[in-house]
Symmetry: C2
Subunit: 249 residues, 2 copies
Amino acid sequence: SGFTKLPPNELNHIQHVIAVMSGKGGVGKSSVTALIAVEANRKGYRCGILDADITGPSMPKMFGISQRPENTGFGLIAPETRSGIRLMSLNLLLDNEDAPVIWRGPLIASAVRQFWTEVVWGDLDYLIVDLPPGTGDAPLTVMQSLPLDGVVIVSSPQDLVGMVVAKAIKMCQHMNIPVFGLVENMSFIECPKCGEKIYPFGRPAGDSLAQRNGLKFLGALPIDPAFAQACDRGQIENYHGAVGLDVLL
Amino acid sequence: SGFTKLPPNELNHIQHVIAVMSGKGGVGKSSVTALIAVEANRKGYRCGILDADITGPSMPKMFGISQRPENTGFGLIAPETRSGIRLMSLNLLLDNEDAPVIWRGPLIASAVRQFWTEVVWGDLDYLIVDLPPGTGDAPLTVMQSLPLDGVVIVSSPQDLVGMVVAKAIKMCQHMNIPVFGLVENMSFIECPKCGEKIYPFGRPAGDSLAQRNGLKFLGALPIDPAFAQACDRGQIENYHGAVGLDVLL
Ligand SMILES: Nc1ncnc2c1ncn2[C@@H]1O[C@H](COP(=O)(O)OP(=O)(O)O)[C@@H](O)[C@H]1O
Ligand SMILES: Nc1ncnc2c1ncn2[C@@H]1O[C@H](COP(=O)(O)OP(=O)(O)O)[C@@H](O)[C@H]1O
Ligand SMILES: [Zn+2]
């Protein structure tokens, strides 16, 4: 995309960098990022997650880790989750997980760059970058400065969400970043009592949104209360409900 | 909060400015913003909505309006929705609603300022500002430069969401901006077949999140498929399901 990519930390050997994006908040970018990493890790790939949502970081909570990264002469060591996934997030650098990070664009961009140049990730098959909502500083910095192989797009069924997600897709196209495909999250929920399939956010639309934008449809995930609970308890590594997100690897 | 507030456009007489914030994306900030404005408008208050989500604007779609604002010598005239609410959003200035706005912080901040100084809102009882996710440029600019009376916080039941919402609450406290209270959205959904109350995102938590942060709990909204549909069809002004959000006015 014409920008000179930043060199990684000399101790890092990272085979592939993938970003997860939606443009719209709350559709499940962090969830899909974590599920891809967990599934790839189960298959034996060495994975890392770079939490590029600098002012709204939720990765450490999903994995239940909070230890401060060790700062060595070579850089900041990315801590490992219980199953061995490397993770770096601004929340790991704060005293309290709910402390606000009140930063403007330049500081946000600089934090994202430092997560690439100053963090010791070691040898990874996949580094998965969780992008914040919007098409501003963090996604722009990642697309300009990191050697991205491609992006996974996450949407949910609402037309309103699809409109904002289309902005993210067009940003990738504009920046010449390949899009691996689109995952629709929160497609439906099954009533635990009578089994009725309920569509809180409208009929599934991921397939046609993908088609309209020339993308591969990677599948749909239902709303699963057990998933939300696993995230809240920091136990996403114990969740086994996600289907075939490893299709990317 | 110590910053000199920007003067409004000389044609504007705005009694109260309220912002709606969450820190976390997708919980329903735009929805709550729109519902407050619709309810206040029904009670006879003159209202406007400033869509400060510059790279992910969804207000025009919720109200089904797309006409380009008229640019006069005095400023940009904020168009009216069908029921007479004034609205300004970056999506009204684009040729296509799904075109990406790939801007860094300084441009985002400048757009928010111009929505206050260059837009002709006229005489309003309430201007409601819809803030994007995060604690970055847009919320910071609004809190520093607009004469905010206070903020309404929106959350959803997940602990993970509550953690990020707490960051937004602490930002308001840090900036000396009063918080009117907290609304929990997506609390539950009722099965259309058997009436079972389902809690996709966990048991209601808004009340205790409000209490822990010294805030008034303003109530909870269920997931209502009819609401998502109204938003997708641009007919939020025809939706009558929201309870008592006018408590703020
Ligand atoms: N399919 C799902 N079923 C249940 N809860 C979900 C699902 N996807 C996401 N969530 C929950 O919704 C919240 C928002 O998801 P998140 O991944 O943080 O969205 P984003 O990163 O797009 O803002 C999280 O608390 C998460 O646990
Ligand atoms: N209570 C609800 N019931 C059904 N759909 C909802 C509800 N609240 C929000 N939505 C839908 O969810 C999507 C996200 O809401 P939005 O207000 O845009 O969130 P935010 O502004 O926090 O990103 C929208 O498509 C909206 O129509
Ligand atoms: Zn049922």
